[in-house]
């Protein structure tokens, strides 16, 4: 068993660990109670799964024939965009007032928004009154 065989085996092992992570995140996406916890499962651990898999493929191809720049590009792109899309979809869900689960203990953003609206309540009323007059 030569060195290149061992490194190929390590790459394939990384791919296998990535697939196990993908199944774990799929279990999370089916078991969690509301959309915010589901986005936690579907974004973070799924990103780890795809990064492990692409890294394994990169190592495999590096040993097999040559270094692949396109895989590096793919890794960087997924690593940059997966958190952005997860944040945007959670924000859209919060703005669309998707209900949280009954297990939710604290909603600090909702408290802050409510306090802000109460602070600006008078000016809003004055503006509306001016318009009415």
């Amino acid at each position: 068993m030569s060195v290149s065989d061992i490194v190929e085996f390590l790459g394939v092992l990384l791919i296998l660990i990535g697939s196990i992570m993908a199944v774990i995140s799929a279990i999370g996406i089916i078991r969690f109670p509301d959309v915010y916890t589901r986005s936690h499962a579907g974004t973070k651990s799924s990103t780890l799964a795809v990064l492990l898999t692409l890294l394994g493929a990169l190592i495999f191809f590096w040993v097999r024939d040559s270094f692949s720049v396109r895989l590096i590009l793919g890794i960087v792109f997924v690593f940059l965009t997966a958190p952005v899309s997860g944040h945007l979809i959670s924000r859209a869900a919060y703005r669309a007032r998707v209900k949280m689960s009954d297990l939710t203990v604290e909603d600090e953003l909702g408290d802050a928004i409510r306090a802000y609206e109460e602070d600006n309540d008078d000016s809003d009323k004055e503006a509306k009154g001016d318009k009415g007059e």
Binding site: L16, L54, I89
Partner: protein
């Protein structure tokens, strides 16, 4: 040995995609379905990487880039649609 591990990994990714598809079918709200769709796109990317390793060719690596870009843009468009109801905002002179 290596081939068995790769086939196992491909099967596990298929199981993950099937579970996410189930969440798309039963998901109570639209953002649930979009999260599951994003996850299906990401898992398809890694499935294509595994197929490319399995066949020993580097021809599928462009597909990875294009599929990642498509998944990202579709998620962005869906979240804009959920948040405001329009995807492309423009100001009109009136």
């Amino acid at each position: 040995m290596i081939e068995t591990m790769l086939f196992t990994a491909l099967t596990l990714f298929g199981i993950a995609i099937a579970i996410a598809l189930f969440r798309i079918v039963i998901g109570p709200s639209l953002p649930d379905r979009v999260v599951a769709l994003d996850m299906i796109g990401v898992n398809l990317v890694s499935g294509i990487a595994i197929i490319s390793v399995l066949l020993g060719t580097k021809s599928f690596l462009e597909v990875i880039l294009i599929l990642a870009i498509l998944a990202f843009i579709s998620t962005i468009a869906f979240s804009k649609y959920i948040e405001r109801g329009v995807i492309i905002e423009r100001k009109r002179d009136s």
